[in-house]
Symmetry: C2
Subunit: 165 residues, 2 copies
C-alpha cells in the first residue's frame, strides 16, 4: 500500500493523482513499479479491459470481460488489482443502483459545485460523489449529466443547524 499516491482526506486531489491521470493507462506499468509493485499479465489484462470502459463498470462486468481475454482470471485477483489501481487514483469505486460495486475509470477532475444558501460558500463535489450523482440519473431516465454544469444548493455542515432561511 503505497501511501505516496493515496489521497483520502483533502478536498481535491491534484499533484500526485493528477500526474497519474495525465500519463493515463500508458504509464501504469511504470507507475506501479515506481511504487515497488509489479506489472503482471493479470494486471495487464485488467487494464486492457479498463481501457474499453471509459465510463463506469461493475466489478462483475470487469471480471467477466477479463475472463474473455484470459480464461484463468479469478475474482480475487481482479478485486485486489482494482484496490491497487484505486490507490493510484486510476479508478474510483462506488455503488450502483443495485448495490453492487461499481468502478469509475480514470475519474475526471471535472466536478460540480455545492452552494450553501446559509453562508454563501461553495465547495467542489468530489469525483466519487459526482459519479454517484451521474450514475443515479443514468439509472433513472438514461440521462447523461454534464457534471461541470452542476451546482446544487443546500446547507453545508456548519449551516445545517442554523435555519437562517
Amino acid at each position: 500500500m503505497p501511501q505516496s499516491a493515496t489521497n483520502q482526506g483533502g478536498p481535491a486531489p491534484a499533484g500526485t493523482v493528477g500526474a497519474a491521470t495525465a500519463v493515463a493507462w500508458d504509464g501504469v506499468a511504470d507507475l506501479l513499479r515506481a511504487g515497488g509493485l509489479r506489472w503482471t499479465p493479470q494486471r495487464r489484462t485488467l487494464v486492457d479491459v479498463l481501457k474499453e470502459h471509459e465510463g463506469h463498470v461493475t466489478a462483475t462486468e470487469l471480471i467477466a470481460r477479463c475472463r474473455e481475454l484470459d480464461r484463468t482470471t479469478t475474482p480475487s485477483t481482479v478485486y485486489r488489482t482494482l484496490d491497487v489501481l484505486e490507490e493510484f487514483g486510476l479508478v474510483a469505486h462506488g455503488h450502483g443502483p443495485d448495490g453492487r460495486e461499481e468502478y469509475h475509470v480514470l475519474p475526471e477532475q471535472v466536478h460540480g459545485h455545492l452552494y450553501c444558501s446559509g453562508c454563501g460558500a461553495t465547495w467542489e463535489i468530489r469525483p466519487e460523489t459526482g459519479a454517484a450523482i451521474v450514475d443515479a440519473l443514468a439509472a433513472d431516465l438514461g440521462f447523461s449529466v454534464d457534471l461541470s454544469h452542476v451546482t446544487i444548493s443546500g446547507r453545508c455542515r456548519g449551516c445545517h443547524d442554523s435555519p437562517t432561511d
Copy 2:
C-alpha cells in the same frame, strides 16, 4: 402485493402515494388494512423504529433497533415489511456509500429537475433518485441538499447520441 398502491412506471406519483404521506405514520395501520393487508405486532415495532429515523437508515440498523424493542425480531420479517411499506410509498430504498440497503423514511414528494441541453425538455427527478443524490452529498461533506432547488443539466436519452452541443 396490492398493486393499487404501487407506482412504478409513471414519472411522478401523486394521488395515492401523496395521500399516504399526508396521514404519515398515524394511518399506517388503516392504510395497510385498506389494502387487504394486516397490522401485526412486528409491523408495529418496525414502524415505531422508523418513526425515530426520519432521515435514512440501513436495513441492518433497522433490524438491530427492532431487536432492542422486540428480541424475537427476525430479518426476513423486517425485509418483507419494508417491501410492503415501500409499495405504499412510506419508505424508499437505495444503497448507501458502503453498498448496503438503505431505506429513506417518508420520502418527500419534493423533487429536483433535469434539463436537457439537447432538446430543452425538462424532467422530474424521481424521489428515489433524488434521495440517492441527497445521500451522496451528505456522505461527502455533510451537505444537506435542497432538492427543490436542484436542476441538473445534461442530455436525455434521446439527445444522448446527437451531440448538438
